[in-house]
Amino acid sequence: MKLGLVIDLDTCVGCHACAVACKQWNTSGTTGPLSDLEPYGAEPSGVWFNRIRHYEADVYPNSKTVNVPMSCMHCEDAACVTVCPTGASWKRDDGIVLVDQSKCMGCNLCAWACPYGARELDEESGVMKKCTLCVDRIYDENLPESQRQPACVLTCPTSARLFGDFDDPDSEVSRAVAERGGVAQMPELGYAPVNRYLPPREKPEVTVSEETRGDSTPGGAAGLIGKWMKRQKDAFDRFGKRTSGEA
């Protein structure tokens, strides 16, 4: 089993819904609370498992605005697990990378090791926290089956987030990656990240037909109006009534 997320960069509008839903669920979740420091002060900061980054590519007027949600990639070869001196960081058989809160001493090594910035030290709790893929939702049989999804996936207004098992070729995530050419972030670093990002779709093109382009009638407004008056009269004379189109 290889659980993870697919994030669609074609439809992500950067609204932060997923980030806040994550914060909301997880502050009372298995590694909660997610502390906030100076929540009403000069430098508000807190623990977030999912943060949205906004970039621009290319230059005006061809610039693109790109929103990239970033959370734990649940790497197959997770450096954060490798470096953990207490064994608190672990990778479950279903692929979820977790931090056992009772074994973590908050040394921060894993945060240094993670190239994706996915680890967040909760200074108040003194331990490291991170995306759990909502392990406390996805296996909760007291929730309706449709609700056994990570909070970020459930809430995403543009359906830009999918959750599933990448080991299952028929899963929604595997199919989306296959169809849309999903890519990993920074695979060259060798940690085998599981999450995939779907690149923007090819832009649809509207080809304007000759029929639509029309021919230019000389004589400006008067010429055109005269032509239309003649056309409506011709149609009437010929058919007894106007026949253009239907609706």
């Binding site: 932060h16 979740g29 909070a151 832009k203 106007r242």
Partner: protein
């Protein structure tokens, strides 16, 4: 895998449904409570608006509930202290209401207009308007005048439906979508849901916006237009569509007034009016007979054939032209050719022509059909709905200009030419829309002591005779709505109330009640001076606005300038209705309304404002609220909502009416109605049958149904007005030749002549007309970020972590050409004032435009934020640069608003930007810190919100033993 622990103790949890109010989108939410605390707020999957999804704001509801800025008790400005000094004392509700009632009773018994009651971001205008009508003051409006009345009015005077939240693109069928000036909108989640549908179907999405953020990020094509020129671009599209003969001839003939005859008699009082017969019937030309005929009767007849184009002379010698002829003559002019408008719009001519042709291609060559038979208003049966799958949505970027009304009409004109209004794939109305043009409600004028108004304060003038002016032409309303300043001010001009009241122009008021409107800060133009006005006294030492009452749930800047503060509840603490009489949550194919129910217990001495209104109204003896013996008719808000009827069988809530609760839309009051809503997830949905889903302006079944449920007074066709006779009446008044009231002042006359073109028109925004554009080189606009749109949640501990400071943004190349570097401190100067703020450079920005995120800046000491919060030290308001009055011109001081609707022209702003001197940093102006209110808690230094102790998932010892801490690739996959 080892068994998992029980993470959640569901036995300690319950789920309650209600309606979100973190913005105006009004999504259905399911709130999981655990021991009375909110565990989780999520979208209701069954809800018609959001279908289970929820935005960032909705997900941050817990932090709204936890805000330390929540007001806790009624407060009175300390006797002897100065207004705005922040000296308050707690008082009891009884004393507060007693004091207010006494004051209001005297006003109501003498001169009711001396009460001005204006409401902000509420959605209970049906109730507050009812209250004002019962009180007997015409000085009531909600905040549409500074929000987006241009969109509502343009639509209601042209198509009978509108953008804003009153219609939606047909997300399921559109193949081409053009979005104009939208940062985010009321339909926050529906737009996002819809965009995904479009993109997954391969529809093309074109975004027209000076700034490429938000939705524009995922647009297939971004047009970085120059602000204020959207209408001109739309009319260039019209030019191309006409020139290339791409318009829906039959649609225009059948569903619009394009064939109707307009009198061509310049210099006379009849010029530009519709030709009518002796019965008042509007005339057209029937080619079948070669004669003039009544449009209505001819449209019903199979024998007639109405001419779309033509110029005729009647038997009486009156020269007439069809509307479409006038339109073609106007828009085929070279003035609207792409090459002529390209430079002004900042869009090259080829692109303009291509976009117009792309829309035509999709509309006419990729038409769609829905195979559902339907009957039009004439009784003709159609086997299918034909769709022109070009959809549009437009919002504040179009509306917040002084040319916004006409610009929005210009966009509607493009839709009409394409046959893309309420046809499949286009823009669809949401019930109760469409409505007849214009909705048959005239603004109230007459007032008498202790007497309810005969009509609602706000309405839709159909000519100068409907204005709220006196015999001398002076405004009757404090905001001067429906005066020559803003004749079609369908939502009032809330942004002028304070200025006008302080200037006693047109008269003094006694009491100003503000509900949920931050007029002391980001909701007012010219913020610093407005604060001074709120403090201003006359020669006798009395405040120019004698008494200010604010109802708000939070410690806003406006609270600080109030004499009496009536603390409101949060959206999770009260009953509410989102009513069909008001701004319901309907979807295009379903009439829907909703309620809120209390989710959490009150922990403060606060009351829902609607409860307070019913209470005060009963104390004052409003006829609708008391029996003849003076006793209360209703036990409170819930009872009022259940039993009050606007008309027999029609009340605030449409669902589960009738004694047995089985009548929908119409029926006797049902005492169990609230519970029925609660049982259904707090919403009601009447799905339209398939034959009523499109062409509703002409759809017989829909029109008959909409009349039967009280949406429309008539079931006749809603004839879309490509040409507005109403506008022409005002223009005739400008020429002084209207058979009715005409303005006297030259400036008033010129405004009517310039801005009331009966055909959609474009003009240079007023501020741009009056300032030195070589000095004020940049357009300056603002927008709200998606995670704060239509909310005030800078206080929100989670959302402010996403953004606590705003910057001024400028196009990178343009900035570099001016020697401005990223993060420079700059001065921004307008004709009215200047500010200092920090600037960032970006690519996705029109080179002639600077912009910022609005309302991030807060006054020190408000909203529960510490005085060193970035919102008050680096965050800034653009409002200081925007005058509520136009730059001085020839005549009197006049509102900085659309001359038709009075829509606040926020985005007309022109500025100069230059580097601050070395060492100059920090925002300017920085207003004095507001004192803390009595009884408010200290804001916490650390938040550790949770509803139960976390159940840790321990790493099994065996896992650590067998796998160690290192992954071994050669062992393969685990």
């Amino acid at each position: 895998m080892a068994a998992l622990p029980e993470f959640e103790k569901h036995a300690h949890q319950e789920v309650k449904s209600t309606t979100c109010y973190m913005c105006a989108c009004r999504c259905g939410i399911d709130v999981t409570l655990e021991n009375g605390e909110i565990r989780f707020i999520q979208g209701n999957p069954d809800h018609p608006v959001n279908k289970g999804v929820l935005c960032a704001k909705g997900n941050a509801g817990i932090m709204k509930q936890k805000s330390p800025a929540k007001l806790r008790q009624p407060l009175l400005r300390k006797p002897g202290s100065e207004r705005g000094a922040g000296e308050f004392e707690p008082i009891s509700w009884e004393r507060a209401l007693d004091m207010l009632t006494k004051r209001l009773r005297k006003i109501r018994a003498t001169d009711p207009k001396r009460l001005a009651f204006f409401t902000g971001r509420d959605q209970m205008q049906a109730l507050t308007g009812f209250w004002a009508s019962q009180f007997g003051t015409i000085n009531w409006a909600a905040h549409g005048g500074f929000c987006s009345v241009n969109m509502a009015a343009a639509g209601l005077y042209m198509t009978g439906q509108s953008f804003w939240e009153f219609g939606d693109p047909d997300w399921d069928h559109a193949k081409y979508f053009m979005m104009w000036g939208v940062a985010e909108d009321h339909a926050s989640n529906p737009i996002k849901i819809g965009l995904e549908k479009l993109k997954s179907r391969g529809a093309k999405f074109v975004a027209i916006n000076p700034v490429r953020t938000g939705y524009q990020a995922i647009a297939d094509e971004w047009i970085g237009i120059r602000p204020g020129t959207d209408g001109l671009l739309a009319l260039a599209f019209v030019h191309v569509l006409l020139k290339t003969e791409n318009f829906d001839w039959d649609y225009l003939v059948r569903y619009t007034n394009a064939t109707q005859l307009v009198i061509d008699a310049p210099g006379t009082s009849q010029h530009g009016l519709m030709l009518r017969d002796e019965h008042g019937q509007i005339q057209a030309h029937d080619q079948a007979t070669g004669l003039q005929c009544a449009w209505d009767a001819a449209s019903r007849s199979d024998e007639s054939d109405l001419a779309l184009f033509g110029k005729y002379t009647t038997d009486e010698g009156v020269r007439v032209k069809t509307v479409m002829t006038l339109a073609a003559e106007k828009y085929l002019s070279d003035d609207y050719a792409p090459a002529a408008v390209a430079e002004r719009c900042g869009v090259d001519a080829e692109t303009i022509e291509r976009l117009a042709l792309e829309m035509a291609e999709v509309a006419f060559r990729e038409s769609i059909t829905i195979d559902t038979p339907w009957t039009d208003w004439t009784g003709r049966r159609h086997e299918k709905f034909v769709g022109r799958p070009v959809a549009m949505h437009a919002m504040r970027g179009v509306s917040a200009h002084s040319n916004g009304f006409q610009s929005c009409r210009s966009i509607h004109l493009v839709q009409m030419l394409l046959g893309a209004v309420d046809s499949p794939g286009s823009h669809l109305a949401k019930p109760p829309f469409p409505k007849h043009i214009a909705p048959p409600i005239k603004p109230a004028r007459d007032m008498a002591p202790n007497t309810p108004l005969k009509s609602p304060p706000l309405g839709f003038p159909m000519g100068p005779e409907d204005l709220a002016i006196d015999a001398d032409g002076k405004p009757l309303r404090i905001d001067k709505a429906y005066s020559w300043d803003a004749p079609v001010a369908a939502h009032g001009l809330m942004h002028m109330v304070i200025t006008n009241a302080v200037n006693a122009d047109p008269y003094q008021i006694d009491t100003l009640i503000l509900f949920m409107a931050n007029m002391g800060w980001n909701s007012s133009m010219n913020t610093a001076e407005v604060q001074d006005m709120l403090r201003m006294k006359d020669d006798d030492g009395a405040y120019k606005i004698p008494f200010i009452v604010t109802s708000d749930a939070f410690h806003s800047e406006m609270v600080n300038f109030s004499d009496l503060i009536l603390p409101d509840t949060t959206y999770l603490e009260r009953f509410d209705t989102i009513s069909m009489l008001d701004r319901p949550i309907s979807e295009p194919h379903a009439a829907c309304d909703a309620i809120r129910q209390p989710i959490v217990d009150l922990d403060r001495d606060v009351r829902p404002w609607q409860e307070v209104l019913i209470d005060i109204g009963t104390r004052l003896g409003f006829p609708a609220l008391v029996n003849e013996d003076g006793s209360a008719k209703f036990s409170g808000y819930e009872d009022f909502i259940t039993r009050w009827e606007k008309a027999p069988g029609i009340g605030f809530l449409a669902g589960w009416r009738g004694k047995d609760g089985e009548s929908h839309m119409k029926g006797e009051p049902n005492p169990d109605q609230w519970q029925r809503y609660i049982d259904n997830g707090c919403f009601f949905e009447h799905k339209l049958p398939p034959e009523q889903r499109y062409y509703r302006f002409a759809n017989k079944d829909y029109l008959e149904w909409s009349k039967s449920v009280g949406f429309n007074a008539e079931d006749g066709p809603i004839v879309m007005e490509l040409y507005s006779e109403t506008m022409q009446k005002f223009r005739l008044a400008g020429h002084g030749i209207y058979d009715g009231p005409c303005p006297v002042e030259p400036e008033d006359r010129q405004r009517l002549i310039d801005h009331f073109d009966p055909l959609p028109d474009w003009s240079i925004p007023l501020e741009e007309q009056r300032v030195d554009n070589s000095r004020y080189r940049f357009h300056a606009v603002n927008q709200r970020p998606m995670f704060m749109y239509h909310s005030w949640d800078s206080q929100n501990a989670w959302l402010r972590q996403i953004m606590a400071q705003n910057y001024l943004y400028m196009n990178r190349a343009r900035g570099e050409s001016l020697g401005i570097e990223d993060l420079s401190w700059v001065w921004v100067e307008s004709h009215h004032g200047k500010i200092r703020c920090q600037l960032k450079l970006m690519e996705g920005c029109n080179p002639d435009t600077v912009w910022t995120w609005n309302a991030i800046g807060k006054q020190k000491g408000t909203w529960g934020l510490s005085e060193d919060a970035p919102e008050s030290n680096e965050g800034f308001l653009m409002n200081h640069l925007i005058s509520e009055l136009l730059p001085p011109g020839q005549g009197r001081a006049i509102t900085n608003s659309d001359p038709v609707t009075g829509q606040a022209a926020w985005y007309d702003l022109k500025v100069n930007v230059f580097l601050a001197e070395p060492g100059e940093s920090g925002i300017w102006p920085s207003l004095d810190a507001v004192k803390p209110l009595p009884g408010m808690p200290d804001s916490p230094q650390v938040l550790r919100y949770h509803t139960h102790e976390a159940v840790n998932l321990e790493r099994p010892f065996s896992d650590a033993l067998t796998k160690g801490s290192t992954f071994k690739k050669e062992e393969g996959k685990r």
